[in-house]
C-alpha cells in the first residue's frame, strides 16, 4: 500500500478497507434524498365534514391524487381522525414505545392518523425506542423468518434440495424468483415439492410480474405472494403499472383463491424512479404503508428492499429503515422486515443494519435471508446469505434472541436434500417435463451452489415452464405424480397445503403454519409484549437448540488431542527441590499439570518438545539447568517466582501445560517478569529454545534482546480460550499444597 504524497499511510490503508467501496451522499431534499422531515413534507392535517375526509395532509379533496383519494375512501377512519390527529406528536411517540399503553390502543389511534402524522411521530424515536416499539407493536408473538431460494440457472432439482435445506434450518416462508421469466412455473413447482420434504407447512412463493404471480398461485404452485408493490407518489405508482384500486382488486383476487398475500414497499423506490416530489423517505413510505392497510393487505414487506442502498446513502438511513418496519406494525400489518438486500461491502456495516431488528423481533426477520450462496441469489445478494448462516447462528446464540434458525449438519441435511431432489426428479419425469441422471442428482445433493452442478441445455427449463402453463399443470397434478412415484408423505403434505385453501386461516394477519400445521397468526398468537417478563421468550428447549452450533466443543472434545501424547516425557518427582545449590544455574519451574495431565501445548507441540527446547537453549549457553515442579499454584508468575527463589542465579523459566512461558528473577515482584511469551498458540520450538538461551544469559547477568512472537492479526481468544479453560481446569485438578519438588526428566525411547 503506497501512500501518495501528502497522504498518511493510515489514509492509504483506509482506502483498502471494504467500507471505502460504500459511497454515501449529503442530503438532497429536492431529490427525496433525506430520511426524515424534508422541508417539502406536508404539515399533518385532516378535515372531516359529515364523516367525509375533505382535506388530508394539507391537500384539499379536489386536489387529491390517487393515493390521497384511496386513503380518504378506505384507509383513514374518519370517526377516530380528529381525536388521533389532535394528539401531541411527542405524547403519541411516548405512547408507542411505552409499556403502559396497550398495543390495541395504539392501533385504534393510528387508524385515524395521516401519513404525515405517522412519519413525524416515528422521526422522534431514537434507535432504542424504535426497537422497543417494534417489540411491542409487531402483530405475531412468535418471530419467524423467510428465505430466498434461487439459483442462477433455475436448476429445479437444486431449488428443491435447497428448499429442503432451508426448511430444515427453520425458514417458514421460501421465496424464489427467476433470471428467466419463462422458468417461473418450473421453479415454483420445484420449490413447492422441496419445501414439504423436511416438515409440512412452509409457505412458498415465486416473485415475478404481478399477473404471472397470481396465475402461479391460482394453480396452487405457490401458496402465498409478496411482490405486490405499492409506491408513495402517484407518478411512481402509475409507472409501476398499477393504481391503489387495481392493487386492491389484486389483493382480493388472491383472497378469492385462498392464497396468502402481502404488499411490498420500502423507501428509496420513488427516488430510484425519479419522482420523489422532494419528500422525505419516511413520509413516502408512510403513504405506502397506509395504502397497504387501506387496500386490505394483511401485511407488508418493507424496510428498504430494492431501495435500501438509496436510504443507506443518506444520514440516519438505517434509523429510517427501522422506523419503516415499526410503521408497518403501527398499522396492524404483518411485518416482513427486509434485510434482504446487501446494503454494504462492509461486514460490520451490513450487520449493524440488521442487528437492532433481530434483537427487537418481527413477524419475519428477513424477507428473506439468502439461504443460497450470494452468487446464486437471483434477487441479488441478500444482506445475509448462505455464507453467513454460521455467523447468524452464533450471534443468535450470543444474545439468545429468537432468530428462528437452528443448526443442522450434513447428517441431517444430506438425506433431506436427496429426498427433495429425488421427489422433484420423479415429478418432472412423471409429468414429462425434464429428466435428470443419477450423476446430476448426486451433484445436487452435495452442492453448495449452482457452480457445483451441471448447466442444463439452454431453453430446457423455459420449455418445461411453458409446458406447465400450456398443459395447465396444477398442485393437484403434482400430488398425483408424487403419489404415483411412491412419495406418499410428500404427496400428502403438498395436498394439505392445497386443502388449507378451503379454510383460509392463513389469510389472517401474520399467519404461518407451524411444523405441526398449527396456525400461528395475530389471532392465535397475538403479541402481548408489555415489558419484562411478557411477550415472546424462547423456551428452555429452544434456548438449548439455539446453543447447539457447529463450533461448540465439549471439554472432552477439546481435550481429546491430549491422550495420544500421554507419556511423551517422564517426569519423576524425587522429593523437595534444593535451594540455590550452585550460582550458574537456571531453574525451570513446571506447572502442576505439565507432563502430568497436560501433554500438548496450544501450538501443537508436545510438552516434551517444549521442555527439550528450553533445556537445549540453556545448555547451549553453558549454564546448568534444573527442573522443579511447583504444585501449589497454576499462576505462571507465581510458578516462575517460586522457581527463581530456588535458583542459584536467581533466574528461572516457568512453563504451563498449555505452553505459556516466562523468565522470572527472584528479586522481582511475583507478577513481574523479565520476558513473557503469552500467546501460547504462536510459540514454536525455536522460540522455546531462544527463551532457554535468554534465561541463561540473564543468569549470567547479561541483557539479551527479548524473544518476539510472530506478527499476527488473528484474535487468539475466540479460537483458543475454550481450550485454555479446559487445560487450566486440568492444571487446577493437579494443584496440591507443599514445597516445590525436584524433577528427574527422562525421555521414552
Amino acid at each position: 500500500m503506497a501512500a501518495t504524497p501528502g497522504e498518511s499511510k493510515r489514509s492509504a490503508f483506509f482506502a483498502t478497507r471494504s467500507i471505502s467501496r460504500d459511497v454515501v451522499v449529503p442530503e438532497y431534499p429536492e431529490l427525496g434524498l433525506i430520511a426524515f422531515d424534508s422541508p417539502n413534507d406536508p404539515e399533518p392535517s385532516i378535515r372531516v365534514v359529515d364523516g367525509r375526509i375533505v382535506e388530508l395532509d394539507g391537500v384539499p379533496e379536489a386536489d387529491f391524487d390517487l393515493i390521497d383519494a384511496f386513503l380518504a375512501e378506505h384507509g383513514i377512519n374518519a370517526a377516530v381522525a380528529e381525536e388521533a390527529m389532535a394528539l401531541d406528536d411527542l405524547q403519541f411517540a411516548r405512547m408507542v414505545c411505552g409499556h403502559d399503553v396497550p398495543r390495541t390502543e395504539i392501533l385504534r389511534l393510528v387508524e385515524g392518523m395521516t401519513p404525515a402524522k405517522i412519519a413525524r411521530v416515528l422521526g422522534l424515536l431514537s434507535p432504542l425506542e424504535l426497537m422497543q416499539a417494534m417489540a411491542k407493536m409487531r402483530a405475531r408473538r412468535t418471530p419467524s423468518i423467510q428465505a430466498h431460494v434461487t439459483n442462477r440457472i433455475d436448476h429445479p432439482l437444486l431449488i428443491a434440495a435447497d428448499a429442503a435445506s432451508a426448511v430444515a434450518l427453520g425458514f417458514r416462508e421460501l421465496e424464489a424468483t427467476v433470471p428467466v421469466l419463462r422458468d417461473a412455473p418450473l421453479v415454483a413447482l420445484a420449490l413447492l415439492i422441496g419445501s414439504q420434504v423436511p416438515a409440512p407447512g412452509a409457505l412458498t412463493q415465486c416473485s415475478v410480474e404481478e399477473k404471472t404471480e397470481l396465475e402461479l398461485g391460482m394453480r396452487g404452485l405457490t401458496t402465498y405472494a409478496e411482490t405486490v408493490s405499492v409506491y408513495g407518489t402517484e407518478r411512481v405508482f402509475l409507472d409501476g403499472d398499477d393504481t391503489p384500486w387495481s392493487k386492491a382488486l389484486l389483493a382480493s383476487s388472491y383472497a378469492s383463491r385462498g392464497l396468502k398475500m402481502r404488499f411490498t414497499s420500502g423507501s428509496g423506490a420513488e427516488v430510484l424512479m425519479g419522482a420523489a416530489e422532494g419528500k422525505s423517505l419516511l413520509y413516502l413510505e408512510a403513504r405506502c404503508v397506509a395504502v397497504t392497510r387501506a387496500a386490505g393487505s394483511q401485511g407488508t414487506q418493507n424496510g428498504g428492499i430494492d431501495g435500501i442502498n438509496v436510504t443507506g446513502s443518506v444520514p440516519n438511513g438505517m434509523r429510517e429503515i427501522l422506523a419503516e418496519n415499526v410503521m408497518a406494525t403501527l398499522y396492524g400489518l404483518e411485518s416482513c422486515t427486509g434485510n434482504d438486500t446487501q446494503m454494504s461491502a462492509s461486514d460490520i456495516r451490513r450487520t449493524a443494519h440488521t442487528l437492532p431488528l433481530l434483537l427487537a423481533g418481527s413477524d419475519f426477520l428477513f424477507s428473506g435471508f439468502g439461504s443460497i450462496p450470494s452468487y446464486d441469489n437471483a434477487f441479488g445478494a441478500s444482506n445475509f446469505n448462505a455464507e453467513d448462516i454460521d455467523d447468524y447462528l452464533m450471534v443468535q446464540r450470543d444474545w439468545g434472541f429468537e432468530g428462528a434458525l437452528r443448526s443442522r449438519d450434513d447428517t441431517a441435511l444430506l438425506p433431506l436434500r436427496r429426498r427433495a431432489a429425488e421427489a422433484c426428479r420423479a415429478v418432472l419425469d412423471e409429468l414429462d417435463l425434464m429428466t435428470f441422471d443419477d450423476a446430476e442428482l448426486e451433484r445436487v445433493v452435495s452442492a453448495h451452489g449452482s457452480l457445483d452442478v451441471a448447466e442444463h441445455q439452454t431453453d430446457e427449463t423455459a420449455r418445461a415452464g411453458d409446458a406447465i402453463i400450456e398443459r395447465e399443470i396444477t398442485a393437484v397434478d403434482v400430488v398425483r405424480a408424487l403419489a404415483i412415484r411412491g412419495f406418499d408423505v410428500e404427496a400428502e403434505r403438498v395436498l394439505e397445503m392445497t386443502r388449507q385453501r378451503l379454510f383460509g386461516d392463513h389469510l389472517q394477519t401474520s399467519a404461518i403454519f407451524g411444523e405441526d400445521m398449527s396456525v400461528l397468526s395475530a389471532l392465535t398468537d397475538p403479541n402481548d409484549y408489555a415489558g419484562p417478563g411478557t411477550g415472546y421468550r424462547p423456551s428452555r428447549e429452544r434456548l438449548d437448540e439455539i446453543a447447539r452450533v457447529r463450533q461448540e466443543r465439549s471439554h472432552a472434545e477439546l481435550l481429546a488431542e491430549q491422550a495420544p501424547h500421554q507419556g511423551c516425557v517422564i517426569l519423576t518427582e524425587s522429593g523437595p527441590a534444593a535451594s540455590r545449590p550452585r550460582p550458574d544455574e537456571v531453574v525451570i519451574g513446571l506447572s502442576p499439570a505439565f507432563g502430568n495431565d497436560v501433554w500438548l501445548t496450544l501450538s501443537g507441540l508436545t510438552v516434551a518438545e517444549a521442555l527439550r527446547q528450553l533445556l537445549a537453549g540453556i545448555e547451549e549457553e553453558g549454564v546448568a539447568a534444573r527442573v522443579v515442579r511447583v504444585t501449589h499454584s497454576l499462576d505462571l508468575g507465581m510458578i516462575g517466582w517460586t522457581a527463581a527463589n530456588l535458583s542459584g542465579s536467581g533466574v528461572a523459566l516457568a512453563i504451563q501445560g498449555k505452553g505459556t512461558a516466562l523468565i522470572h528473577r527472584a528479586d522481582l515482584p511475583v507478577l513481574a517478569n523479565l520476558e513473557l511469551l503469552s500467546m501460547a498458540p504462536l510459540i514454536d520450538g525455536s522460540r522455546y529454545r531462544l527463551m532457554g538461551r535468554n534465561a541463561a544469559r540473564h543468569a549470567r547477568g547479561e541483557k539479551p534482546a527479548p524473544v518476539l512472537l510472530p506478527e499476527s492479526g488473528e484474535p487468539m481468544g475466540p479460537r483458543y480460550h475454550a481450550k485454555v479453560v479446559a487445560l487450566i481446569n486440568r492444571e487446577s485438578r493437579c494443584l496440591r499444597a507443599g514445597e516445590p519438588q525436584a524433577v528427574e526428566v527422562s525421555w521414552p525411547s
Binding site: 399477473k211 384500486w245 392497510r293 386490505g296 398442485a475 403419489a483 379454510f503 383460509g504 389472517q508 398449527s518
Partner: protein, 132 residues
C-alpha cells in the same frame, strides 16, 4: 351447522366445504390418483371467506375484512375472469365504458363490492385524467 371458530382448519375441519361440496378430508391422494378429485374441488367457498372476514373484523382490521369480502365475491368467477378484471383496472388498459362494463359484469355475478370498487376507480381515474 357447527359454530365456526378460528382457525377453521383446527375447529371445523369437517364442517368447511369447498365450492364443490367436499370437506378437506374428502380431498384424498387416492381420489386424486383416480381422477375423482380435481383442482376445481380445492376452491374455497365464498361463505368461508366471509366468515374469515368476520374474524378479521373482530381482530380489528376492517380493511382486511373488506378485502376478504371482495375475495368472496371473486371466488365465484373463473381464473380468466379474475385476471381480466385485475388487468382492466391497471393504468391505461381501459376506457370508462370498458370499466363500466366490467362493473356491470361483476354486479351481475354477485360482486357488488368489487363493482363498487371499480366504479370508485372510474371516478378517481377520470378526475385525474387517466381515462376517458
Amino acid at each position: 351447522m357447527a359454530e365456526l371458530r378460528y382457525p377453521l382448519g383446527e375447529h371445523n375441519r369437517g364442517d368447511v366445504r369447498s365450492q364443490t361440496g367436499r370437506t378437506a378430508d374428502e380431498l384424498t391422494v387416492a381420489d386424486i390418483r383416480s381422477g375423482v378429485v380435481t383442482s376445481a374441488d380445492a376452491a374455497v367457498d365464498p361463505d368461508t371467506l366471509r366468515r374469515q372476514a368476520e374474524f378479521a373484523e373482530q381482530g380489528g382490521n376492517p380493511q382486511l375484512a373488506d378485502n376478504l369480502r371482495r375475495g368472496a365475491e371473486l371466488a365465484l368467477f373463473s381464473d380468466d375472469d379474475v385476471l381480466r378484471f385485475y388487468d382492466a383496472l391497471r393504468p391505461g388498459r381501459s376506457s370508462i365504458a370498458e370499466l363500466e362494463t366490467i362493473a356491470a359484469e361483476l354486479e351481475a355475478g354477485g360482486g357488488e363490492r368489487c363493482a363498487a370498487l371499480v366504479r370508485e376507480a372510474i371516478a378517481h381515474y377520470s378526475r385525474r385524467g387517466l381515462i376517458s
